[in-house]
Structure formats: C-alpha cells, structure tokens
C-alpha cells in the first residue's frame, strides 16, 4: 500500500470573483516525482502556495505530510522544502553562509549543519566555491545548490516551482538527476514546469487548465488517453480549450 503524502479534496482558492483554483482533488505518494503542469495563469502557483502553507485555501480540504493546511500551516513549513523560480538563495551571502543560514532556521544543530554541509559540498563538488558569493557562481550551480539547501532538513515533500528556468539542456539533465536522487531518499518531489519534455521524467503528472485538473496519470496513460505521441501533443489538445492564457 502506497503511503499518501499529499491529499486534496475540492481544494479551492478564490480572489474575489476570480476562481484561481477550482475544486481540485488528487493524491501524491511517498517518494514519487509528481509533475504539476499548466499554462501560465492556470493556477499552478496558487495551488502550490496553498499546499506549502503560504496562502489559506477558500474551501476544500488538503493534507500535506499528515498535516492540515487550514489549521497547521506552520507545522507544514517544518516538513517541506521549497525552491522557487525566482532565486531563493541570498546572492550577497557566500555558498557556505547560505547553507548555514537555512540550516539554522530549520532548527538543525551546529553538528548537523556541519555534517550536512560537508556532505552537500562533496556531492556537488563545490569545494572551491564555498567561499564565493552566490552572486558569482553560474546559474546552473545556483539551482543545484538551491535544491540541496531546500532538502537540507530532510523534509517529507519538496516543492519545486519551475526549477530549471533559463538553463541549457545539459544542466537541466544534471538537475533532473538530482531530483531522482532526492526521490530515492524517500522525499516526495512536487514539481511545476513548463518544459514539456521534463514532464516525461515524472512518475505521474497532472495538467491544470483554468484552475481545474483536466488530466492526471502517468505520462504513458495520458498519451494513450489523448492518443498522442508526446506530452507536447497532450498539452496542446488540452490547452486549446483554455479560456485563460498568459495575457
């Protein structure tokens, strides 16, 4: 039996008359890489913000890591990691200072921080960069570092909000290797992306259109269901019916 880490039922967020997220229900299991797709404005970010305790849902139900987003948002924050498309590290701090700071505010002990940062530097091959300002290291490295920092405290779930924006395919591939390693550790990965080829890397994906989840399943299931050869095509078929778009 698969252990459920995220479970939502009719989760809804309204801003005035505007329904950003419209009664979505889904489950995410432990150690899974769950892709969350949709055009800009489809409601991905809003949904993710609700699940990470940043914004209170209007109605519905959502449990993250066994905790209720309505009543225990602060508890949730201790059990999740988060990395956003805008940079989540401090550019004017060095690599090691960032690690120490985030380790510290997640309540790790000095010993844990020391051990974790050594592991992390070893793994990322960052020995020569630890004293450099984050500002001065390449974008791909920053993203890898950001992910490592987001899972420093061994959360149950890590939310990645378009983590690979703006980097070349080779670096993206390396980054996905890191995501797999993360999932192997038993950390559930909840990732939004607009690179559709990346969707193929996920265990399961959901596609949001106009605030609703219009499709959910493994990449293969979805391709079969929509009789498409690629995720691109699936997405195109779904998105054609969308009312909301980028503009």
């Amino acid at each position: 039996m698969k252990e459920t880490v995220i479970k939502t039922e009719n989760l809804t967020k309204r801003f005035g008359d505007f329904v950003a997220v419209d009664a979505i229900s889904f489950e995410v299991y432990k150690g899974e890489i769950f892709g969350f797709l949709g055009a800009n404005g489809a409601g991905k970010t809003t949904a993710m913000r609700m699940l990470s305790g940043l914004s209170k849902p209007t109605s519905g139900k959502a449990i993250v890591a066994g905790l209720d987003v309505f009543t225990q948002p602060e508890e949730i924050k201790k059990n999740i990691g988060y990395m956003s498309q805008r940079f989540s590290l401090y550019e004017d701090l060095t690599v090691i200072e960032n690690i120490k700071f985030f380790g510290g505010i997640y309540g790790l002990s000095d010993k844990q921080i020391k051990q974790k940062s050594e592991e992390l530097i070893e793994q990322l091959q960052f020995q020569n960069e630890i004293k450099k300002l984050v500002h001065d290291i390449p974008l791909g490295w920053k993203q890898k570092l950001a992910l490592s920092v987001a899972i420093l405290h061994e959360p149950k779930v890590v939310f990645l909000d378009e983590p690979t924006g703006g980097v070349d395919p080779a670096t993206r591939k390396q980054f996905w290797e890191m995501i797999y390693q993360t999932a192997d550790k038993g950390i559930t990965v909840f990732v939004t992306t607009h690179y559709l080829d990346e969707a193929e890397y996920c265990n399961r994906i959901s596609i949001m259109v106009d605030g609703r989840i219009d499709a959910l399943g493994t990449p293969r299931e979805l391709k079969e269901k929509f009789s498409a050869t690629s995720m691109d095509e699936v997405f195109y078929k779904l998105a054609r019916g969308a009312k909301r778009s980028d503009n």
């Binding site: 989540s88 590290l89 401090y90 985030f102 510290g104 505010i105 309540g107």
Partner: protein, 372 residues
C-alpha cells in the same frame, strides 16, 4: 532563540558585505556631523552696508567710523551713488543702504532734527530686522554722543533711562553649534535608521527571497526582529560615535545624565525603526520605499524643530510637529545636553515617543500580516 542567532548573523553579514552601504551608514553621519553644524549659524554678522554720503562732513565721517567700529558691518561699494548702491543690493553685494542726506551736520546742529534714510533687503525678514536693529542702536548711541557734546551734562542726565540687563543661561557665549550638534546627530540617526530599515525589508520583497523565508518555519516576528535589531544596534553605535565627536571636536560635555540619553535613544530607535517597518509594508519596490521614506524624512527634517522654531509655525503646523517623533528627541537632547534636564522633565516626551513606537510597530505588523 537559537534561530535568532542565525537570522542576526545573516543580517549583519549582508550589511557589512555592502561596502557602499557601510560607508553610508557610518562614514556619512560622521562627516556630516563634523562639517555641517558649523554651517548652522543664525548669528547675524558681517552685514554688508553700503553708505551713500551726500554730506561729506566731519559729522558724517565720525558717524560712519562709529558704525564700522561696531564690528557688525562691512563696507560695500566705494562711495557709491544711491543708484549704484541699489544695484549692490540687487546683486546681493549689499544688505543695507544708509543714505546720509546733504546738510546732515548743519541741520543736526542748527535745526534740532535730521532724517536718515535706511533701505534694507528684507527677503530674509529676520536678518533685515536684526541688521537694521544694530544700525538703529548705533544711531541712537551716536545721537547720545552728540547730545552730551552739545548740551549741558546736567540736562542730559535728567532724562530717565531704563537699562535692560540680560543674562544668558545654559549657553552664556551663545555658541550656535552647541545647540545644533545634538539635533543634527539625532537627525542623522533618524535618516539612517528609518531609511535603511525600510529599504532592507523591501529589498527582500523585490528580489523574492522573502518568499523563500515565508515557506520556512521562521516566524514573521523573528524575521522582522532580525531586520530591526541590527539597525537598533547600529543606531546606538552611531550615537556613541556622535557623542564622542561632540566631546572631542566640539567640546560639548552633556550637563545631564548620559544614561538618560541612551534610555531615550533606545525607545526612540524602537519607534523610528517601526516607522521604517511600516513604510516597508506599503512599498513593493525599493523605489517606492525610498520615495515614501524621502517624503516623510524630509518633513521630519524640516518640521522637527531642528532648524526653525516650532513655536513660530502656524497652529495647524504645530499640530503636525506633535506627530513627528523626532521633534521630541531633538528637544530632549537639547534639554539634557545643555540644561541638564532630568527624567522628571522629559518623562512625557518619553511616554509619547514610546506610545508612537507601539502604534507604528503594531500597525506595521498588522499590515505585514495582511499583505503576505
């Protein structure tokens, strides 16, 4: 509490990493405190006087030399005509024109009465008033000289005179910078504290790092304390440096209790940092925060009683000054430093500033919760 260690470490690292910022925080106040108080001097001296002498008599010569021996006046123009003098005023080369009419000596000695014409550039009304006042009293003096020369000494003495004996307490030499240094120090701390706090928080909003902080278990109050405490400490440090500059560069030794000043400073910093915090909750970008901070700090600067007396402002403006925290601190600093006022003299000031601090910080925290 352990978390605060990490938060403060981060804040201090970021402040101390930005060298331009660091210069602005520490060097700028020091330089300004060393230079600017000397500029703030209302004492009216070196008044440029242009004299149009139509008489050229021994009386007018004596009169003129008496004027310049007073030390208040400097001669402007070389024996000009009235029109030339007027041009001197237009060019700001002269402040006052004194016209001695033809027959000054003759009329004065024979006809018992003679007019003098004085024209003053009155754009700066106070300067005009004080300058012409000096000239007037010299004229009265000269007048008395002539009388005592021409009249029997006995008759002259019979005129009743009232002497105004004045004594200046707390600052007998009327040194202007003693008055300005404490006020300018307070102003500099306010500028640095209010401004930097506002910008520092908005910077995280603008860059987006605040989003990351929001998903961590770090509590809002911990984050905000992390922003306020460093500037609170920096404010204390600047103040201490300022006191040393006051002591060693200006020779100002506070008469009152230094501990009392620090106590007031502690509360005041709480209030002014709350002001910065409040601004940061209303601004999305650093540009907005800066414009807002500029707007208010400028008002603090000019309406806080640092340069012009609050008592002289219109009633409605005086009400505004009561809402300005700095007006209380400037006042208190001047009272404690110059007059040795004690706690009982400033307790209401302290209370008001404290209440303001509660309101500003409370307002900011409520607002901060709403917007995020």
């Amino acid at each position: 509490m352990r978390i605060m260690k990490f938060v403060l470490q981060k804040e201090f690292r970021q402040i101390f990493r930005d060298k331009t910022l660091l210069k602005m925080i520490f060097i700028m106040p020091i330089v300004q405190l060393l230079v600017l108080p000397m500029a703030a001097n209302f004492t009216v001296k070196n008044i440029n006087l242009s004299i149009v002498d139509h008489d050229h008599s021994s009386y007018s010569q004596k009169f003129i030399s008496k004027i310049f021996s007073s030390g208040y006046f400097k001669l402007a123009g070389d024996n000009p005509s009235f029109l030339e003098s007027y041009v001197l005023i237009e060019n700001d080369k002269a402040d006052i024109i004194l016209e001695i009419p033809e027959g000054f000596e003759r009329n004065l000695t024979r006809e018992n009465g003679q007019k003098l014409f004085i024209a003053v550039n009155a754009i700066n009304g106070v300067k005009a008033l004080v300058g012409s006042g000096y000239l007037n009293s010299i004229i009265m003096d000269y007048n008395n000289d002539i009388r005592s020369q021409l009249l029997q000494p006995t008759t002259f003495n019979l005129m009743p005179t009232i002497e105004v004996v004045s004594s200046n307490w707390f600052n007998p030499n009327l040194t202007y910078y003693i008055f300005m240094v404490p006020g300018i120090l307070v102003m500099l701390i306010t500028l640095v504290g209010g401004n930097m706090t506002a910008l520092n928080i908005v910077k995280e909003k603008e860059i987006g790092t605040i989003e990351q902080i929001n998903v961590t278990p770090l509590k809002k109050y911990q984050f905000l304390l992390g922003k306020l405490i460093p500037f609170w400490i920096i404010g204390m440090i600047i103040f201490s440096i300022g006191l040393m500059i006051a002591r060693f560069a200006y020779g100002i030794i506070p008469i009152g209790n230094i501990g009392l000043m620090y106590a007031f400073l502690a509360v005041y910093l709480f209030t002014i940092l709350g002001f910065g915090l409040l601004i940061s909750t209303y601004a999305e970008t650093q540009q907005q925060a800066q414009s807002l901070a500029f707007f208010f700090l400028m008002i603090f600067n000019l309406m806080g009683g640092l340069f012009t007396p609050i008592d002289s402002m219109p009633e409605w403006a005086q009400w505004i000054t009561r809402l300005i925290p700095i007006s209380y601190f400037i006042n208190v600093m001047r009272m404690v430093v110059l007059k040795g006022s004690a706690f009982s003299d400033i307790q209401y000031h302290l209370l008001i500033v404290f209440v303001m601090g509660i309101i500003l910080n409370g307002w900011a925290v409520i607002n901060y919760k709403k917007t995020s």
